[in-house]
Structure formats: structure tokens, C-alpha cells
Symmetry: C2
Subunit: 343 residues, 2 copies
Amino acid sequence: MNQKLPTIKEIARRLNVSVSTVSRALSDHPRIGAATRERVKQLAKELNYEPNAQAIFFKQKKTHVVGVILPYIREEFFSEAISGIEMVALEHEYTILFGQSYDDVEKEKEVVNAMRRQRVDGLIISPSKTTLRYDHIEALDNYDIPVVYFDRVPLSEKANRVYCNVYQGTIEMVGWLFNQGYRRIAFINGPDKIAASRDRLNGYIEGISRQKLKVDMQLVENTDLTKESTQDAVAKLLALKQPPNAIITFNDYVHMDAVQYADKQHIKVNRDIIFVSYANLPITAYTANPPLASLEQYPYAQGEKAMKMIIRLMNEKNAETQEAVFLSEEILPTLVINQYQPR
Amino acid sequence: MNQKLPTIKEIARRLNVSVSTVSRALSDHPRIGAATRERVKQLAKELNYEPNAQAIFFKQKKTHVVGVILPYIREEFFSEAISGIEMVALEHEYTILFGQSYDDVEKEKEVVNAMRRQRVDGLIISPSKTTLRYDHIEALDNYDIPVVYFDRVPLSEKANRVYCNVYQGTIEMVGWLFNQGYRRIAFINGPDKIAASRDRLNGYIEGISRQKLKVDMQLVENTDLTKESTQDAVAKLLALKQPPNAIITFNDYVHMDAVQYADKQHIKVNRDIIFVSYANLPITAYTANPPLASLEQYPYAQGEKAMKMIIRLMNEKNAETQEAVFLSEEILPTLVINQYQPR
DNA sequence: TTTGCATGCGCAGTCGGTTGCACAGGCTCA
DNA sequence: TGAGCCTGTGCAACCGACTGCGCATGCAAA
């Protein structure tokens, strides 16, 4: 087969006109006569002509490639998110250059640099949990590459961001637990340097206060998200003089490690102590002890919004707009109550 | 900041040489004098010059973009696979254009066409379970776009493929069950049109025969991979006069649906009936009833091999090699026995 | 008849590299 | 001393599209 892809030149040759005429005819330039325009369009259709996007991007000094860096794609939260990103990217003829940091800041730096070398037009990133400084990401500013932070956003306000308002969600969560009659509500939070943890903690404190309960910091533990660290946190809570009767965990993965450990300690999960969590992953439905409630954070919608935001930023870059206006999009989470009976 | 990226032209201007000299100096062309070569390389380093890959690819009529189409990225098997693909792609400066078929052949066609329009240099695809004809994929041949089928490979031999030998794995699985003392071994297979199902079934039949057992097709059911269909299959097996005491399921997702249903029917999972499966997904460790054994199919390694294969094919394309030689890579699976006590 | 303007189209440069070919200068060897 | 060769460098075309500018032609108004 091996049919040569038709170019604008080929059309010009066949119609005995110049390439510029063909180019203008195809883009409805007013100075091209109607007859010529139609002849060109007709032949273009017959030949199945499709403009070479690479050539156009090259001329425009664009790649139409957007970098996406996530910690782990195998986590359902992130794979849902990338699905949303992908959908919008395909619609707008953008290509995704995808990379994982595996929650390691050094690997993250490598990937960021690889993407810079590939001259991505923009970057969507959910930083690794070990990323405390953002220099390597902010350096992209020097190359005029806009960045959107996603889900895990930096504490600083000087960044474009899409995130879920877990502060509000956590207040709602605590309120729900209170209404169910629980009073000793513990919290296993994530690494305390990251914004996701800060928001949860603030929501927790606010939620507890609104119910006129006393905030007891003994009930708040942290995990670095590894299985061992999570189990340590559970152990400490169980060892309290007055152990909690409800535990909120950082996310469903932490939840799974936590209840697995609690189960081993002969705690009747969701009876002796009830567990609630964040993320609302479908997979938890299959687990031995799903969370009684989980906060849906709409990762797909977050991905869509992040992609739309980066597209907007990349377009504004051309327009040479004002300095230092940062975009921010917030998604409101929903507390999903599981319909199941604990064993 | 907004530092202009240095070009070859800029270097030429500063050193008062021509761009061709700079280009050749940087690529160690033998006709360039040592002194000139060093001056050029020196300045290139100082300016942090990095060649514009887009320009080079454009000249070479390549995009360095590889399309990857998978059914669902949220399935751990596929997200592991894409990690392997990504790793090799980053190393070789390839970009991934990623798309999901959501196991729907119509969506798959759309994505394939979008990728063709974007002029991907090659395609890695794991076809949807509703893909029975491959015309839309084979059409890429007309555009000289090589295709590698991955995991779910077509029955026809006329295709490049990377897959796991589940035929052998299934024989091993049946043998293991036999050695554990099980004699009525049932099988819940996937859609019977796809190669993955055919290989499993053949392996099952061969495995049963090798143990001098009689193949009883009453013990073989199919599921279209939906929860309902899987539950129907389990129900039929449970309703047999002589129900099975071991059930092999198509993969870990089918397994989860199957044991969830069996549990509801008051079957003591992995006591009354033991369950074994394919994929060995980490997530099953958290579920109420993990498979007693699962066949590890090494999706990451499969992804790596697929990417390496497509790179090889894309390079051969230039070399105008012989017609119709198809590459094939097989991975041997491993039966992983779970270390846990059923409840 | 000349001027002026609208219409229709082509030339050539541009983006950032690569590459075939030409050419100048110096050297060696018959 | 001239033929032939090697070395070092530049010119210009090329990839596929876009685009500023200029040049015809035709027609209407002066």
C-alpha cells in the first residue's frame, strides 16, 4: 500500500496553483476566489488531505505536548485523574508525555528535566510526598512553561492549582460521625508537610470544634503512607487509655492497611471502631472491611479541569498577559456512605 | 526571566561560522577541524544548548510519538504495563499518546483514528474485548505505522505480539490443584472470542488430561467480565449435581466478583471451594477472600518488551526491510501461592 | 484616457535543524 | 610544476505549512 500522505504541495501541483493559494483556500482566506477555494477543498477531500500538525506546531514553536507527572499511576485515584486529562487532551489534539515520580523527589527532578528537554508546552503535576521544595518545578518558569498543580498543591498561593476542598469535606465527615453518636474521633493523617494533610487537619479541628467537642491531639497521628507507618499509628491509637471509637484515615489505601492491622489485633472493624476515609475507591467494595463512609474527590473531574486550565495558560502565554495572576479551581467533595453490613 | 532558548544559529553567529559547521561540529563530523569542533562544543555547553527535537523529527518526517491503547488504565494490570512502556519510552525520548477503549470497539476505532491523524510513529494496543475484527487497526499498515499487539493478541499469526504464555501457566495451575487433592476443577473463562480465553481453555483441557481426569464441559462457564455475568457463571456451577471444589477464574477482577457472590450464597470461600486466578494483583491482598493462588503475568515486563519491539519496528521501517516478518515475544508466567489462612 | 481601488494569486522568507556539493588552500608525489 | 588528494568550511536546498508583500488584471469613477 504505502500511500504517500498528501501535502499542500501535492494539491498545488495538481491544480496548477501555488502552495500559498492552497494554504489560504483551506483556511478560508477572503482574498481567495470562491471558485479556486472550492476546487482546492474538493481535491483536498478527495485526497484525504490532513494537515501535518507537526509542521504547524514546529512553525508555531509549540510541541502540543503536555507533561503529566503523578506519584503512582497504579493508584486508582491517579489513573482516574489521568483518564480525565486524557479525554480533554484528545479533544484538543494535545499529546500527553507521562511520567511517574514513585513518590520520590529525586526521580521527580529527573522526569521534570526530561520533560523540559522534550520542550513540553505545559506541565500538570501532583508532587511526590517527599517534595518539600519546588525549585526544580518553578525553574520551568524560565523556559516559559506553565505549570498546574493538581490534587497535592503547594502551600504557597503563587501557583496554578486544581484541588478538592477536603477542608470542607472533613468538617462534613466529622459532623456525620457526631450525628451517628461517635465522640472519640481519631485521625490518621498523611505526611504533615503536604497541603493535603494540612487541609484535612484544619477541617478536623474545625469539625470537632463545631460540635463543641474538645480537640485532643492524642487522637491525631501521622503516617508516611507506608504500611508499617500506618500500622504504628493504629497501634498508638489502640494503646490510648481511652481509645477512639471512630478513626478517619488519610485515604483508602491507608484505610486498607489500617483495618488489616486492626483486624489482626482482634478489633471488630466497624463495630468496636468504625473507620471512615477519603477517595471512595471502587476497589474497597471488595475488601474485607470497606470504610463505612469515604469522601469522593472526583479525580476524573479534577483531571479534566487541570487539563483545561493548562490549555488556557498555554494560550495566554502567547497573548503576553499580565504577570502573576494564578488560577485556582476547587472541587467540592461528597461524603459517600457505604451501604453494607459489617460482619 | 524568559531566556530565549539558544539555537544552532545563535552559536554560529557568535563564533562567526556557518550553521552547517556548527551542526557538523556537534555531531562529530570528521571533516570539521578539532579546534573549531571544540570551540563550538564549548560555547554550546556554556549556552546550555539543547537541540530542538521537534525540528529534527520534522525533518526526518517522524513524530517520535507512540500511541498506546488499552481497555482500562485503572486496572492494575494495565497501569503496571503502561509503567513499563513509559520507562522505555522516556529512555529513548519517545512520547506516549495514550488512549483508552473502555472495552468498546467503537471507542477504539475513534481513538485509533485520532492517533493516525496525529501521525503516531507506531502503536501498541491491547484490543477491547468487543473487538472481533481488526480492520481498523490493520488499516494503519497503509500509513506505514507499525502495530504491536499486547497481552490480548489476535488469533491470526500475522501480527507483532507480546504476550504471556497463559497456556503453559494454566497447565501448571491445574497440576498444582491436582497435587493439592482437588479433582472437580471448574473454570470461569472470559469471552470466548478472544485469544486470552482460548489459551486458558486449551491449557485447562490439556492440564486436566495430563492428570488423567476426564474433561467435563459442564465445569466450564464463560463471563463477559461484567459482575452480573460472572455471578451467573458461579450460580450455574453451584447448581450442578456435583459442584466443583475448585474454581479457576479468568482474572483477579472476575475472582473478586465470583467470591463476593459465593460468599453471599454462604459458601465458605477457600474451604468449601477454593479459588485460583490470573494476574496476581497486589490489591487482592486486602480483599476479604484473596485467590489461594494467582498467575503472575508480569505486565511491567510485557510493557517494556512491547515498547522495545515497537521501537525496533519503527527503525526497521526506515531500512525498508523484508515483507511480512512478524515479531513475537512470549513471557512465562509464574504461579504465586498466597500465604494466608482462610477464615 | 487616466486614476484608483478591489480582487485574485504567487514569490519568497521563516521555523531549526541536516546534508550534498562546491570550493579554497595546503600538501605530497611523480 | 602541475596533477591529485586531503582538510576545513560555507552555500543552499529541504522538510510542510504559514504569511507579508507585491504584482497583475478588471472595472468604475473622474
